[in-house]
Subunit: 353 residues, 4 copies
């Protein structure tokens, strides 16, 4: 199927994940952009809203109701939470595959979903069949999935930083801390005092310490691979920059390892686990990944530390929240779903500086 | 002594802590700036190096060897580590009091100091008599101190975030995590690729995870107030902004408290502990302090969280690394040493936005 | 009157010029803050909206209708354009003096005002008596003014950069270019996509090239001092930073001066003109002022260049748009109006770095 | 020749133009990177210095003396000024084509070059044969050029903004002002106090007002297309951002045009001139291009304004200084030299946000 063309629709192309998806798709060799919808901007050329796409894209936004999505092989939802679930059953019924970049299908438990997202779920029957689109865990199921729930940005960075440890049963799963830091684009594209330059630049703060919607998603993912109960404290912070997530993860070793060789053990564990992964990069011992090393790229870069040889392991994991944390991972999932090389259209290095 | 004038010298006025000290001192009603020394810039008007001081300061840098320091009542060292210890004995012998903003006298244990600062200490006999200048702990000793070791920036934010818990014996002292984030000015004023705008802006990273010089200083301080061994993992990060430190501190409650009232208990504990402190501000429950709320000000603002009512307490503590974390705290110490109102010259609110 | 206390009201204390005014006034020795009004936030402690003012200000916002303004000696309007003109006549009638930080009374010509501000003026009869509050031009009139129109930020930087040249009739007044750059705080404190960090950081652009409201204000000011028609092209730009304005002004010398001595002539002209001005600082020849040298301070710093000794003179003029461009100049005007030392409460150096 | 492979060498791959060149070349379908040299870093894997290239490039830096360059079809010099001219004659003698991203071959006049670059030129005989690599002017000569002088960043933005006006003889060539603003990466990758985040972020300033090396380059280019003497004032400014140049160009119309239709005339003039250019984008009337619309992309976006229908035309021109202002234009030149489609490897949209 490598040479085939996928007819792609994007619902909600006016946000940051939407425009990032368009950036990646306009040059994807196997994609024909067929419909990009926006109720509010229907009729406007997309490149008028996003001049960065001038000379790359001549399509106009269309109304999602006008039927063009029916001609697609795949529809991405780059919409706010609660939108995709309203259209998914009909599209799936037409044989159209779906990747939802929002949270509608990420949690398996309807009750938990409704608690955290504060609304009734429109199609709870799909929660079981939706595939959680973290290729490093669920690659096989993604291949045949009709409906992929693209993971959240924080959950991607934290899960990739913990997978090898959980799979090999090395750590105390009841005492995990994920201190995460995100650029402001994670808050989306909207008029908001709280994300204005004068309010957030030259400043740093935590937010949502009492509870954040990505907490149940992370816990569900960690539980799935470890088959254990997870005790997790997750604290997100806002960094005065546009893109990037840095997760600093603290875990307690489940059996105390006193010899210094063990640092090498954990390094080898990660390298082995990810050696065939195209988008997970385990850095050499002693490294400190910076988020700019993945700016605009689909990679997750990880370093493992064991400070002063104590019983706390510190994992540093960085991604671009809009790429591996959203649009890039969505393209990676599409590539898997349609039998393409997983890296197609995702080969650009990070923009540095 | 409130109306008296203190003749003040500043050794090393060309760095960021130096110029911040000058910003605070030019308007201090009880200070006469007497000598500001710099070997490399001797003869240059200070306001030529720092145009922000034009119309405020007409002094020139002088050579530290030219004897003017002998006319001072107090000498600040805003120098790199290892400088103050070479001059301190002589100045103290002349009856001049000293506040060292660097690390020369912060650690009580000579061996530990020499290990972390990788040099021999020039006057280890002074380590015992130097007073660690954290007013919230050592106010009484500071009053009569001849030599004050001004605390480091990270240590100030972390200690103020933990004092009430340690003094009241609430937490497991062997399992403390301090995930700290600092603006770039913490790295000092120097030509360096690693702090250039193109290398650090629009990026975020951890550094010195294997070990940072502030670790032994924090541990020493926490041990002193708790009388217990301290198990601390300290991870500093670099934030793409000029000023500000945000410490996110994770502690385990030593006895599990199941009732929801206990959050109020910790809130009250902090409020009670700091109610008379002029520069420690405990925010209302549920708050998330941002570093800009203390930009240019000498305050430390603190919030206490207990996510999902679990057994991990999360303390958020913010300071301006150049003010409460350096020059402002040094002025506060001077005020205490000379019997002035502790807030003199430190009353300016933060610059917002 | 130096020791007297001025009872001060602030209408509209929720914006950036408002909070900046409060920052300056809380420590002003001759001011008692009496009423700070906000319709939308009435009842909320001001320090709850602006945590930077915690420990400095315990007042709450009050409703402007509740009569407290009647107890004031002076009322500042830190409101959007069009608000002050609705209340000014009544307050003036009660003998209360007014400083309007918005544009309601800046233009003398009603028709021009209504054209640029797109509304009817509520009290055009006050336009003639209002004093334009640029102390460097109108100090005498400000002393006795009942109603002061505080200048706009761009107009302050441009007028101060041109005054000496216009007063001495050196330049072609029909061919002036003011290429101005402003930090984002100039756009005010409000929810707006256009000022969100993700939209404006790491970017630079011009705006309002076809016409900006500050154009007629600048032209009126330049005409007043030169008694000539003014031909001015004014192009504002948005800089990815919070505070600061940099005006780069290009003027053609009216008579060609070929000798190299003339650069000194213009330098001397500026130094002479501003030698007694507390807040205008003419830098040495060859200087390039940066906006950070006035961050948080009330100074305007100016440098004069004549590239390659040609017939174009380039003036560089920097201010903090929220201080000399708004709140600081308003305090300076108050000091003049009430017979205080002009610098009272305005002595803090810029925050650097 | 479309399917052929070009063996490419890069001399000096450790700076920002070097790493940007590598970012563009690693995915260029017709390029085989053959040698990347650095005296100081010889032996180090390139991806160790630039982790953004991990998984994209496995080459190591080699010493320029070790002969590998002789195997190349094309050598890029991404070196400081004065380096390429020392090696160019020998490489050209071996039949190797050269693109110099520095300034060694940009000026035709040896005396002018030596004046501005303050050194003797090593091979002045090549100045006449070197082709100035601005494709929009010299496309034909570039095709067969052995030695291409890649234009400077400011000169690219200013020349593209003026070409249509000069070619059609519309403006007073003796009175042009180019007020230009650049991100910090224009200063190169090096340890320098002057480009450290704490010195340049949250600030804005002009620099080099008395004279900048790009002035003679711009004048030479404008003279070449207009056949007239050029009177140009060029003032560069430093913007607190990484990438991007914004040129604001002020020109006087040579014949006064009073009718309002004339704005359309200039709009049409630009659109017509650039309609076949793949990388020059004339925006609709009334536009204000922002630099982020070209971040990481090879486009120049231009808008034309005539404020208040006066006799000054304002041209806004934006590029990414590292792409169209350096590495991207160099790749574009290579494509032209080797008969490839001019856009090969340059199709990525800007990174937004």
């Amino acid at each position: 199927m490598t040479d085939s063309i996928i007819k792609v629709g994007v619902v909600g192309g006016t946000g940051y994940t939407g425009v990032e998806l368009l950036r990646l798709l306009v040059n994807h060799p196997n994609v024909r952009l067929t419909a990009i919808t926006s109720r509010s901007e229907a009729g406007m050329p997309i490149a008028e809203l996003f001049p960065s796409l001038r000379k790359h894209l001549s399509l106009k936004f269309t109304d999602p109701e006008n039927g063009e999505l029916a001609n697609c092989d795949l529809v991405y939802f780059a919409t706010p939470n609660g939108v995709a679930m309203k259209s998914a059953p009909q599209l799936l019924g037409q044989g159209i595959r779906i990747i939802d970049l929002a949270a509608d299908f990420r949690l398996k438990n309807q009750e938990v979903w409704e608690h955290w997202y504060e609304q009734e779920h429109a199609c709870p029957e799909l929660l079981a069949t939706a595939v959680y689109g973290l290729p490093e865990v669920n690659r096989e199921q993604i291949k045949s999935a009709q409906l992929v729930a693209n993971p959240g940005c924080y959950p991607t960075s934290v899960q990739l930083g913990l997978l090898p440890l959980l799979e090999s049963n090395c750590i105390d799963t009841m005492n995990i801390i994920a201190d995460c830091k995100s650029g402001v684009s994670g808050a989306g594209r909207k008029a908001s005092l709280g994300t204005s330059l004068c309010e957030v630049s030259e400043s740093f703060k935590a937010y949502a310490v009492p509870g954040h919607r990505h907490l149940p998603e992370i816990k569900q993912g960690l539980q799935a691979v470890s088959n254990r109960e997870i005790g997790l404290v997750f604290v997100p912070h806002l960094v005065p920059m546009i893109r990037g997530i840095h997760a600093t993860i603290y875990t307690r070793l489940s059996r105390v390892n006193s010899s210094s060789e063990n640092t090498d053990f954990f390094q080898a564990l990660f390298e082995q686990r990810y050696k065939d992964e195209p988008f997970v990069d385990v850095l050499p011992p002693g490294s400190h990944p910076d988020t700019r090393s993945v700016k605009g790229a689909n990679h997750c870069r990880i370093a493992i530390h064991r400070p002063l040889n104590g019983d706390t392991l510190v994992i540093l994991s960085v991604i671009d929240n809009l790429v591996k944390g959203a649009a890039g991972q969505a393209v990676q999932n599409m590539n898997i779903m349609f039998g393409l090389n997983e890296s197609t259209g995702l080969n650009n290095p990070a923009l540095l500086p």
